[in-house]
């Protein structure tokens, strides 16, 4: 099996558009559910996990959007395949470490994905482009309702849906959005924003969730509390906060252009220079520079190019995707060379940034 033939092509995945896509890359809602009579995956014996996996998978496949879905056990996937799925945000890094007795089901349009026997028996997510947390909630709510008639969920009146970890108890919901915030980072306001968001009981994390670095100025904002509030209250609250962050990011960009245009043009121009001309580049540096390239596109410095291009490059230059194009494992050194080759050839068609020439050699800012 070649996982790349099953998943959508990177350019198609990157081309999906949604509201406020300039700043909000994607929205996701995931629900944690467990079976009433089975021990949680982390405590269950392997034989039990294998049984539970089959039972859940077969029932998930009965629900409408999953009838023609892709499904697999984790033992059927190579390390590279698993990493590829992590890079596409279909499974967590924890899930990628699992083997027999765990697996996943992915809908044809890739909007719905169920991890089976991760930390909970079921972790189902709806993933949509742009700012659509409310739509993602509706989609996964509907799916969950359809599934509950087939599966006997662990639920009690007082505590709601029972989860392996008490942090997910009650609604079992995690609402999150992936944000691209170069303006707030460059204007050094990001820490203030993170602190303010934290005070509202929301978490700000890196690209791959818990404990990961915010590479490429991409931040994930999500709720932390799951008990004592309804799902729609949680979704609404997060949505409000996201709208405010979008506002702040837009203001930060406008202010930077007004007061520190040279600084911004310098960053973007250098990013373009390296991406278009390097012969060896790490994945981390690529992500950070692609973020600036994307900012340049947002600021109309690369006419004729769309943000989808940076999103595609972002996907295909990540380690597993890169190695898959060469059908095999590569050393980090060889990967860096391959990545640079790929970027150079793709940026051949992109003209140098069209920065307005102010005619001034110095900026007084006065």
């Amino acid at each position: 099996m070649n996982i790349q033939d099953i998943l959508s092509k990177p350019e198609d995945a990157a081309g999906r558009e949604g509201p406020s896509n300039k700043i909000v890359l994607s929205s996701r809602v995931r629900l944690a559910r467990n079976l009433a009579t089975m021990p949680f995956p982390g405590w269950a014996k392997k034989s039990v996990r294998v049984e539970t996996f089959k039972h859940i998978r077969d029932n998930v496949m009965e629900v409408d959007p999953m009838r023609d879905a892709f499904h697999t056990g984790m033992e059927e996937l190579s390390t590279l395949d698993k990493q590829l799925l992590v890079e596409r945000h279909f499974i967590s890094r924890e899930h990628a470490a699992k083997t027999a007795g765990s697996g996943m089901v992915l809908s044809g349009d890739e909007a719905l994905c169920v991890m089976i026997n991760e930390e909970d028996h079921l972790r189902m997510q709806a993933l949509l482009p742009g700012l659509q947390v409310d739509k993602a909630w509706m989609a996964i709510d509907q799916f969950d309702t359809a599934l509950e008639s087939n599966l006997d969920y662990a639920f009690c009146e007082r505590r709601g849906y029972l989860t392996a970890c008490p942090t997910n108890l009650g609604t079992g919901i995690r609402v999150s959005a992936m944000l691209h915030l170069p303006g707030l980072v460059l204007s050094e306001q990001i820490n203030q924003i993170i602190q303010a968001v934290n005070k509202l009981g929301l978490a700000v994390r890196g690209l791959h969730g818990e404990g990961t670095e915010a590479l490429g100025n991409v931040f994930q904002v999500s709720n932390q509390m799951t008990l004592g509030e309804t799902e729609s209250d949680i979704v609404e609250r997060l949505n409000k906060v996201l709208l405010q962050i979008i506002d702040h990011e837009e203001n930060a960009r406008a202010k930077l252009l007004e007061n520190k245009a040279k600084m911004i043009y310098n960053h973007i121009g250098r990013a373009y220079g390296i991406l278009a001309n390097s012969h060896s580049i790490s994945s981390k540096e690529t992500m950070n520079l692609l973020s600036l390239f994307r900012l340049g596109i947002d600021l109309s410095l690369f006419p004729g190019n769309k943000p989808a291009l940076t999103e595609e490059l972002f996907i295909i230059t990540q380690p597993a995707h890169l190695q898959k194009t060469r059908a095999g494992k590569l050393s980090a050194e060889k990967r860096d060379i391959l990545r640079a080759n790929l970027l150079r050839s793709r940026l051949l068609k992109v003209d140098r940034p069209a920065t307005p020439d102010t005619g001034k050699t110095e900026e007084n800012g006065e």
Binding site: G160, A164, L169
Partner: protein, 168 residues
Amino acid sequence: MLCDICKEKEATVHLTQMVEGKTKKIDLCESCSKAKGVDDPTGFSLADLLLGLGASQEMEESGSTTGKCPKCGFSQTDFKKTGRLGCPDCYDHFTEGVESLLKSMHKGTRHVGKAPAVWQQTKVYVDRLHSLQSKLDKAVAKEDYEKAAQLRDEISRVKSEYSESTIS
């Protein structure tokens, strides 16, 4: 003082946070604090840390939650190690510890969100039956046998309606 996570190295990073009027403290060594992202404000959330450590302490302090879950054999020590419970029944067995944990973790300790439809139907039925039964008891106490007879018929009607709806 040893690090709360690795329990090997000397703790040099000390964190304190007030949660629901209770002081929570965590002491970490340098490498664990880095691993947990404490030095990096973007990746750091005290709640995550408190969960694995403070949480299990709390369960211990609340006493009475000793022994193993009768359903799955999970113990407090296991919770301390993993920060996860063994099975849905653990929530009933470790009630007290879990309750105080939830207070510091969530907005409330009662679920107010979605419920499975089957469960909601049952709840409506049970509530209705309870209220009819208490009306019947009152009627009997007042020796209002005419009303009591009506209520008794109503109860059997509700019961048969419910059993029909669940079979279909």
